[in-house]
């Protein structure tokens, strides 16, 4: 039997959060952590977590699994269980709404701040805007972000200054548009990033790179933004 310890907090009922222990029989299968949560919810329907696609592309079920942020649906027990114990907590650093569900408003606000959409005011052609495969390749490793918040909630700089530091996820997306040959707002975008917090609170800790479930590298993207700032300001 596997010991599963889950963070519980329902503000309507509980005075304060607590860890609840469950005994779980995986029947020798290497289930995903989400499978475990689903099965436990059958026993205790009051257990609350987000989930949708269950294949690692929607970004709903980011949680802290035995100390490391990740997606419950693509983290197998073989990776998550340490000494017959599985500990599941909400992603750290953002307010908890209930159990494993966090309030992501601050995370989304930072995403919106970087103007996450194409800006190109020149008249559009009758067909697509052309882009070479080489130019398009610059977007690889950037556009795949699923906004699961595993990275930003693993980042100490984001913990301390979530209102001011954009965080790894937002910065990865900022670079996704800076790197796009079709976007023409480079200067405008850069001018909004040149303060001591938005980009420069990144101290290269690289927790984001370590936890990203899609294998993306926000630290590298932040480095590219910094280089672009240097090029445009010197």
């Amino acid at each position: 039997m596997l010991n599963v310890s889950i963070y519980r907090y329902n503000p309507e009922v509980d005075a304060e959060p607590f860890m609840q222990d469950f005994e779980f029989d995986a029947q020798g299968k290497d289930l995903m952590v989400l499978d475990v949560l689903e099965k436990l919810k059958v026993e205790d329907p009051s257990l609350v977590f987000r989930r949708s696609c269950r294949e690692g592309v929607c970004g709903s079920d980011g949680v802290n699994i035995s100390g490391k942020n990740g997606l419950a649906c693509i983290t197998p027990l073989s990776e998550a269980v340490k000494g017959n114990k599985l500990v599941i907590r909400p992603l750290p650093g953002l307010p908890v709404i209930r159990d494993l569900v966090i309030d992501m408003a601050q995370f989304y606000a930072q995403y919106e701040k970087i103007q996450p959409y194409m800006i190109n005011n020149s008249p559009a052609p009758a067909i697509e805007r052309l882009q070479s495969p080489e130019e398009r390749a610059k977007l690889d490793g950037l556009y795949e972000c699923i906004l699961c918040a595993c990275c930003s909630t693993a980042c100490p700089s984001f913990w301390w200054n979530p209102e001011k530091f954009i965080g790894p996820s937002g910065l990865l997306q900022a670079y996704r548009f800076l790197a796009d040959s079709r976007d023409t707002a480079t200067e405008e975008r850069l001018s909004k990033l040149d303060d001591p917090f938005s980009v420069f609170r990144c101290h290269g800790i690289m927790n984001c790179v370590q936890v990203c479930p899609k294998g993306l590298n926000p630290t590298k993207a932040i480095g590219h933004i910094r280089n672009m700032l240097i090029r445009s300001a010197t």
């Binding site: 700089s157 301390w160 200054n161 979530p162 001011k164 001018s191 909004k192 990033l193 040149d194 303060d195 001591p196 917090f197 938005s198 980009v199 420069f200 609170r201 910094r226 700032l229 240097i230 300001a233």
Partner: protein
Amino acid sequence: MVTSVTSFGRSGLSDWLVQRVTAIVMALYVLFVAAFLLATPDLGYSQWAALHKSLPMRMFSLLTMISIAAHAWIGMWCVLTDYITVRMIGPKATAIRIFFQLGMISMTLLYLLWAIDILWGI
């Protein structure tokens, strides 16, 4: 864009660049002094004073002192804006942070003036 009146260069990029450049200056100074000490096995007061009386060395020392001051300002400002915040310690944080920031800036400038006094007082 977040504005910051007590930061060193008021711009993230300039702070970042200053931080790197000052680090290089400090590293060079340490290397130079270390090399001088190694190359002068029986070092006495006269040699040490002669070194520091020369104008190039005075300039180098001054540059390093300024670098230390700038580096410390930026670094301390980061630390204070990480930990002395409303999020971390409650509503009085802003007043406390300004107090520490101004204290830190005053101390830094004071140390710098003191260093100049020492350098040119030899």
